[in-house]
């Protein structure tokens, strides 16, 4: 059985139910009988949705081949930061646990062993603490900065 998904930029994707229900969000829509018409996904653009659906399809196809799947996942997640966050947000919104975990793991790897300044630089984050707040937190976490 095929389902129709519509991205935020109005592109329609026809997908097999088995593939689409990797998303817990879509799965509950199907179970509630709300999936007869086109399912709108206003939070996911077509570019990201295409990637997400590729992930889902491969997870159905390679279900029994752990090694092949791992190889696919490692290659899949080698994307630049902008795409990575789009995938993360889509996986969160569509509730696709393994994609969410893999994307989070990728971001986590970017944080490892870095100082707060280095983390801000890598992820383009603005420091929104006042100097007093920053000093207080530094004191709280002093031991994390020891060798």
């Amino acid at each position: 059985m095929a389902l129709e998904l519509k991205s935020s930029d109005n592109k329609i994707f026809e997908v097999e139910e088995l593939v689409a229900v990797q998303s817990e969000t879509i799965k509950s829509l199907v179970e509630d009988g709300c999936a007869d018409n086109v399912i709108p996904l206003p939070n996911v653009d077509s570019k990201t949705l295409e990637l997400v659906l590729d992930w889902c399809k491969n997870h159905v196809d390679m279900k029994l081949d752990e090694e092949k799947l791992k190889e696919y996942e490692d290659k899949f997640i080698e994307v630049d930061q902008a795409v990575l966050y789009d995938l993360l947000l889509a996986a969160n919104y569509l509730n696709i646990k393994d994609l969410l975990n893999r994307a989070c793991q990728k971001v986590a790897d970017m944080l490892k062993g870095k100082t707060p300044e280095q983390i801000r630089e890598t992820l383009n984050i603005v420091n929104d603490f006042s100097p007093e707040e920053e000093e207080e937190i530094r004191k709280e976490n002093l031991w994390a900065f020891e060798e």
């Binding site: 969160n92 975990n101 490892k112 870095k114 929104d128 976490n141």
Partner: protein, 287 residues
């Protein structure tokens, strides 16, 4: 370039942090207010706590007061007594790796129940209700065991006998003691002289007793020679050996024996055996 991560809901940031380690999480909490808030979440600290933490908490001698998983983690970074005071448990704070200390009561001390040979008493410097003091024996054999199931997986562990040598000690260092750590078919041998390192005294002994020392030493299994070192808590420790906790559940057998000298010895006070992750291996993970 825009800060993409600012678009992520806080719970996603918590999930990301849960894939790092306690050290990285504390550093990240300084990055911005969203990171600080996400770093407090139970989602993060639940992952850093050991899988069996609920079981460990249920076996505490003194219940801990905590409201968040982070607070529990920090509490457990100090040694806590479990199992009626027979063992102590601790997490190391960098990665949340597990360490245990088995009290003397938890070990098998040959002739430990003979009051002529060993006396059991309570002393303020001990974390446990009792320590074992050697009065006199010709057969010194101390054994302990622990299953890797309760330890952190894929971790290099060191095994240490925690003890003191009293001022009235005698006969302990006539011949080296043999130490062993065995897991599955992997064996780690070692030997040590149970004595405080006193360079001058040892030099004199070497001069007068060299022949005898060498004859006695030949009775002992060859292994890496190790030396007593002082701990921060006032006790001494000697490394019995090391092992790697693989994914399989295995029994680790640990022992110290001096049974080939036949001379009487006494004055050894046993606090227990500690099994803890080896720091130098963990430091490498931080880079």
């Amino acid at each position: 370039m825009e800060g993409f991560i600012d678009m992520l809901p806080e719970e996603c940031v918590s999930t990301i942090l849960s894939f790092t380690c306690p050290t990285d999480t504390f550093r990240s909490s300084m990055v911005s207010s969203i990171f600080h808030s996400a770093a407090e979440s139970d989602v993060v600290w639940e992952r850093f706590l050991p899988d069996d933490y609920k079981d460990v908490v249920s076996r505490l001698v003194t219940p801990l007061a905590f409201t968040t998983k982070k607070e529990l983690f920090l509490c457990l970074c100090n040694p806590v007594l479990i199992d009626g005071g027979r063992k102590s448990f601790k997490l190391e704070k960098l990665f949340g790796k597990i360490s245990y200390m088995l009290s003397a009561r938890e070990l098998s001390i040959t002739w430990g129940n003979d009051p002529m040979q060993w006396s059991w008493k309570s002393i303020p410097q001990s974390r446990f209700p009792e320590v074992a003091e050697l009065r006199t024996t010709c057969w010194l054999e101390i054994r302990g065991k622990i299953n890797t199931q309760i330890l952190s997986p894929m971790t290099r562990y060191g095994v240490y006998l925690i003890m003191k040598i009293s001022n009235r000690a005698y006969g302990l260092d006539s011949i080296p003691s043999e130490m062993l750590v065995e897991v599955g078919n992997k064996v780690c041998n070692g030997m040590t002289h149970l004595r405080h390192e006193d360079g001058k005294k040892q030099q004199m002994e070497c001069l007068f007793y060299r022949n005898r020392t060498e004859v006695l030493r030949k009775r002992v299994i060859e292994g890496t020679e190790r030396f007593l070192s002082e701990r921060e808590d006032g006790w001494m420790e000697i490394e019995l050996g090391e092992f790697f906790s693989s994914e399989a559940y295995e029994e680790v057998k640990m022992s110290l024996m001096e049974v080939k000298g036949y001379q009487l010895k006494g004055g050894l006070i046993i606090e227990g055996i500690e099994v803890r992750p080896i720091y130098r291996f963990m430091k490498e993970c931080l880079r």
